[in-house]
Symmetry: D2
Subunit: 475 residues, 4 copies
């Protein structure tokens, strides 16, 4: 279903950068790129651009709370003049939801101006922040990106180039990050050694692009060049792309976030060579193989459940159907009237096509169950519409552990799978049967790419942070 | 695809009314109802409510340009106190797009206050307007609804009840209308004798509801009672529903707008006993029967093409697939940057799932072709993604004539089907083959309900208006 | 002091109209003119323009709640193309404060489009409204102007010109009105026979202007031509100004609102040949003659009290001083925080210059006392700042009766002068002495022009309306 | 006249801080205080508050472009919970006009959170900024305050208290500053050793207040306690006020900005024991003594010229008069329509009272002449209104040199007094005679307090900065 805070996983951010060697303004391209990445964050967005031929490091930027459509106007885009730029869409996990925390971060440092857009969560951000504070640093936001920026600025004092400073800085940070950095004359992309978050390179005419997902390249009419490798730093200048792979781990040690495939990424994106759409189709197929059930129709909970439903149908031979109509006008800014009203938010967003399910045995595929409150409601809606049986299949394993790398998960006690058997969950959501994707299937789903399975198993590629301890403050 | 002004048909409006006999505030229910009808009009919206136990005819209203989400806030909804009310979402066909023209129309007349929400187009509005002006009337909007309101007010002077005044008034108007009227103590619904536009009755607890589509009843948790009959006037008071069928034509003479089934209505709605979803499935099946072609996959252009694609697949046995990802964030307020940019709006809104179509013979189903510019672009996108063949099937007959009853159609010369053979159209949009729904299938599609086929044949149930002639003005 | 609703009189409106025979756009001139008239109404404002060479009677308009600065933007002004236009600033007395009631009223009638801006209050508006309703009229606002517009539209059906229709229409209305009407090719000004409200004619190059006050002519760089006479209708066309004086009363029977001189109008305006500033100076002089007192300094309550204070000083020889600093940033949109706070609104708006009053016997001149709550506060502030004596002089007689002609007066029981002697009032506001302008002085103040003294004496030039009786409404 | 950027001097900022020992919320008091200081900056404003009993250093803040009325709403003020807080109004001199640069600056540092509001200009800000950047600092604004904040943060690492860190930090900065700093449990005020900018202490019940001007104390109903001394740091805690005077210079070496008395401060304020109003009166008296002329009336250009005009009148015996009416609705957001229009901005803002000047010899007093364009216009307006002679007197000496301490002065070549004799200036503005305040009078005006006269003489209390040289940036 749709990306709500209350009963779905939350993703952190989308990043986008362009450097046009022909000197064309890039703000509108970034704007379109952010549109394509809007599903990765609807809380705030921003664009910062610079003119590589103008005064060193003068940056024009515009940030704000809301969707791209709400933050940018023709006028404000027209004022963003520059041939190099970065953009960002944000869903807050670390750092409060407030205007100050919108990205890209724009700052002056020893060598001019930096623009920085960041997707991911650091696990040692607090530690690093304290270290920096103890040496006299000041922080004006509560986002991890400011910690990274600080380290880049400090390293830059004693290094020969900004890319070296970036390289030294990110050696200090631990966690998940896909980073796009704009210096006065360079566009830099970096991805953490585990490759938790995606980042790819595109090209259009004489311009290079960095983007969280390939769908953004398609949208702006750019060609896909390649993915930035886990651990790689790419530096884009008029002389081309330079690559620094000194931080790359051996291939098998990466740990991509599997939820990018299952739920976060747009199905028309391709991450590290694996089609998101295909991987969802496959998840459906595996479910058909591993959790078969006799039924009349297989339907997906829109949008992300649809591909898995199609996969299930193709594998099982049970006809694919459409059971839900989603109201796409119910967006981020949906206002719940204060008047006590009987209308539930699920009902406002989803309605059942009675004709599709009446008198039928229905297999309903969703990508995950978090708290279970929505699933409960949807199963009821199918039954009310006349479904004789409702079999729920989930295209991911049960969610059991916290994520430290950028996915917004409720407290463990609120997870429906915590301390419960699958039968118990099935009872709670009122289904006739329930099946999850088997954890073993995850590797096949990502075509053998190593993935992080921390949220299913509690075993993480990097040791998670200890309890937060903060120093003694002025009283 | 989505409802854009430039290359799609435009629908006029959605109406919603409630009368809660228990005295509960109805504004939030209207708000939710308008949400469910938002697809019928995104230009402006409004709510007017009244307290049937308060001073006679005191109305609180709020109207504005934009979506429900944009016009209403918790605060403004909270100020709309009343147990009877009407709401409206608008897409302008007649009357300019401006705040003055937003509905519901709220007015004082001899017996207090009226609230009026109207869906449809009158063909004698200009004539009636002139007549009224020649007897000293003043008009503050350019919408047809004001003409209807005037006639109700004039008739009310010499009638015993508001419903009689409504009945007399609508005898004078010709054309398409589904009307919801709120008087100080009555909620009235009326539908023109041809039943061009839908209108239905629902009930929740002790409240009656009138709505353009049944999906709005589902959304607010109301039960469907029945459709208002073409030509019927229903008057809802604490004593129940009274029906006046004196204007109803013999059953076979109605002329419902077939595009409600094909494209306008939400698939989860049911109009005059016919499921919109089912009729779209059927359209796909007829296309499979009448315009068969060998292929590997059949895909729909979202959203409205999907059901027809599923129908085609079910009938033909060719697998159903998903070929497009639609960016739902690109809404009404999408800003096109002034910077000349290479990004096309189609590309920003739709992307192709390469995996679904690469190397495949694709059947692509859309609901209609208006100018053909979008179809052209989408066919190219499929080919660029590697489709080996692209066969286009359209779930309606060729569009050839203007609509006088509320559908926004471009000038005839801009219609791709005007003066062109199907082969010529096929060439223009670059498809390997092209098939339209046969006109004969329309009756089957609506399960025998009589429909208007003016836009396909040029023969209309009511004679269309003559040239506009306006009198001599003050100079 | 400043124009607050709670403890000051409220004025109704300002009107402005232009017709530029050279075909230049007039919207910006109207905008500047409304700025100059902003003191007459801060609640809403609007501009409507038309192109006399374009299609007959096509009007572009923009209205909204708030000050000119808030309602208009460069963009919205740029869209108002036309060489004839009317503008309005509003302070609501009759009719609620809501967007629908903003003026100018723009309407279509038998001969095209009318724009209408109105200052004043009709006393038979309700009666006329009922009459119209009983003949089938509908009303979309609650302002008197709609009643006038209706009558113009009805009369126009059987008259030869719009000015004749205006003439016939205003014969039916009773009360105060200064009216500017724009028809497709004519600009018409009308003033009620008593001349309650001001209206004057100006000229700039080849353009004629109608405005509530001469200060608006100065602001737009126009020359004063003459006042519109009480009872006169002027019609401005390319052929010049035509005058219809058939409704004019004998000179001595007019009844100008004396508060225009005392408080409403800007001091730099001149109404019917009498300088507002001079009349305020004179009021001060009369107070010095009629209510002398020994003192060290005479000060005015800003802004309107200053001129009278100067007059008192000139007459008495007691030095003029400045005792108050007014915070001009505290405007219409001043937000009172909900947090219970000790700050009073008077204190936020006014501060005392201690140096000016410390140890001194102060004469403080204000234009009127309504409820007395502000006067009370200001006297205290002077004492707190060290004034040894505070003598209050009011440049108008005691306010005792309601106004039916456009001035917003609280209920009679709330007037401090109601049922109280001057000594009692003096006690309540805590002054050492109190003096009002003698009623006999009013004629001298207006240089012999006949004035309305209804609010002081209860005797009105036109008989005030009876109790409101409204008909039986639909139930 | 009013505070426009183009032809008037610009002031930098106003600061306000409160600590309420009884734990009451202080946001509304800060809001009222900023209102009273709004004349010091209309570009942006902000409030930051903290709860001294809550989690250490958690700060709620709201900043934005515009006036207090525009930035704050009841809702946003209600969300600012805390018993200690700082506020700021800004007029940008150093640092661009953009949301990022709005104050107070809120930041996290080693000991929690700091809020910082600053009035004044540092002359070594760029130098300090470079030094900090070379040690790895990052800057997110372009305001001097961030430099001060950085130094406080760095010093805090090795000091025992925040006030010691402030003391060490401001030893490094050179220039003009009045500073209010909020730490988790302390409110600190600091004023540079020359005392360029004012800062005073007030008390209301159990709350202490710091404010730029005493008029803000009056507005919130607080008592004046004393001024912060030039060079003094005051630390306000529950234990009372602690003072650190170690940076204070010998009394005679301070250098207050004389324009605070002449023009910037509100007349009802008292700075370092000298009444602003009295000093303006005196300036007028000196002009009467030093530049006498025979005339019929003496008038001030509002607002700041009025007090000097009264002084001139009292000294000379020439009657005081009012010649101008100012339109106070023409505020910061005045929109100039793009349509080429004949209306000048001076005319829109000021109108002449013809009655006051017609046929008279007028002495017109203004506070300063910057470029001379406005003076030129006003003199013409007086002549057009019939003044037979216009004698201009300026209540400050000729403006000849730049200001490095916070006053916004145009480039030297644009100053009318640059390279011109007084007779030449008189000719340019079209006056019959022109007189400036003699420089020797400045000391008397400030009652002997040492003042800065750099802008008149080019000799400054601190050596002004050299040319800006910026390091080599990343390319």
């Amino acid at each position: 279903m749709d990306r709500e805070r209350f009963d779905k996983l939350g993703e952190e951010c989308g990043v986008f950068g362009v450097y046009d060697f022909d000197g064309n303004d890039v703000a509108s391209t970034i704007y379109y790129g952010l549109f394509a990445l809007q599903h990765r964050g609807q809380e705030s967005c921003g664009i910062a651009v610079s003119d590589t031929n103008g005064p060193k490091g003068q940056v024009a930027s515009k940030k704000g709370m809301g969707l791209c459509n709400e933050v940018f106007t023709q006028e404000s885009l027209g004022e963003l003049k520059g041939d190099i730029g970065v953009g960002h869409v944000r869903y807050s996990t670390a750092g409060q939801s407030c205007p100050e925390n919108a990205q890209p971060l724009v700052l002056n440092y020893v060598k001019g101006t930096l623009g920085l857009a960041h997707n991911g969560n650091l696990i040692n951000a607090l530690e690093l922040r304290h270290e920096l504070e103890y040496s006299g640093a000041i922080f004006q936001t509560t986002i991890d990106s400011e910690v990274i920026a600080y380290h880049i600025a400090r390293e830059r004092v004693n290094t020969h180039s900004v890319e070296d400073a970036v390289a030294k800085a990110i050696r200090k940070v631990k966690g998940a990050y896909s980073l796009v950095v704009m210096s006065p004359r360079k566009l830099i992309g970096a991805r953490d050694p585990y490759g938790f978050k995606p980042l790819c390179i595109g090209k259009r005419d004489n311009a290079y692009i960095l983007a969280s997902e390939t769908c953004a390249l398609d949208t702006v009419g750019a060609e896909f060049v390649r993915d930035v490798e886990p651990g790689e730093i790419v530096t884009i200048t008029k002389d081309g792309i330079q690559s620094d792979c000194s931080m790359c781990l051996p291939k098998g040690e990466a740990a991509r976030c599997v939820f990018e495939y299952i739920y976060f990424a747009r199905p028309d994106s391709c991450i590290d060579g694996v089609s998101v759409y295909e991987s969802r189709l496959k998840a459906g197929k595996y479910l058909a193989v591993d959790s078969p059930v006799e039924a009349d129709v297989v339907v997906g909970v829109p949008e992300s459940g649809n591909a898995a439903a199609l996969g299930y149908s193709l594998e099982s031979g049970i006809p694919y159907g459409t059971a839900f109509v989603k109201n796409t006008y119910v967006g981020r800014t949906f206002i719940k009237p204060k008047q006590s009203s009987r209308e539930s938010s699920v009902q406002v967003k989803l309605n059942v096509l009675k004709e599709s399910v009446k008198g039928k045995r229905v297999i309903m595929i969703d990508d995950s169950i978090v708290r279970g409150t929505t699933s409960d409601r949807i199963v009821s809606m199918l039954r009310d519409a006349g479904a004789s049986e409702v079999h729920v299949r989930i295209s991911s394993p049960p969610f059991l552990w916290p994520c430290y790398f950028g996915t917004d998960v409720p407290a463990r006690e609120q997870l429906i799978a915590y301390n419960r058997s699958i039968d118990e969950i099935c009872d709670i959501i009122g289904a006739d049967s329930l099946g999850y994707l088997r954890t073993e299937r995850l590797d096949e789903l990502s075509e053998g790419l190593p993935i992080c399975r921390g949220c299913f198993t509690g075993t993480y590629p990097i040791e998670p942070p200890k309890e937060n301890i903060r120093g003694d403050y002025d009283k």
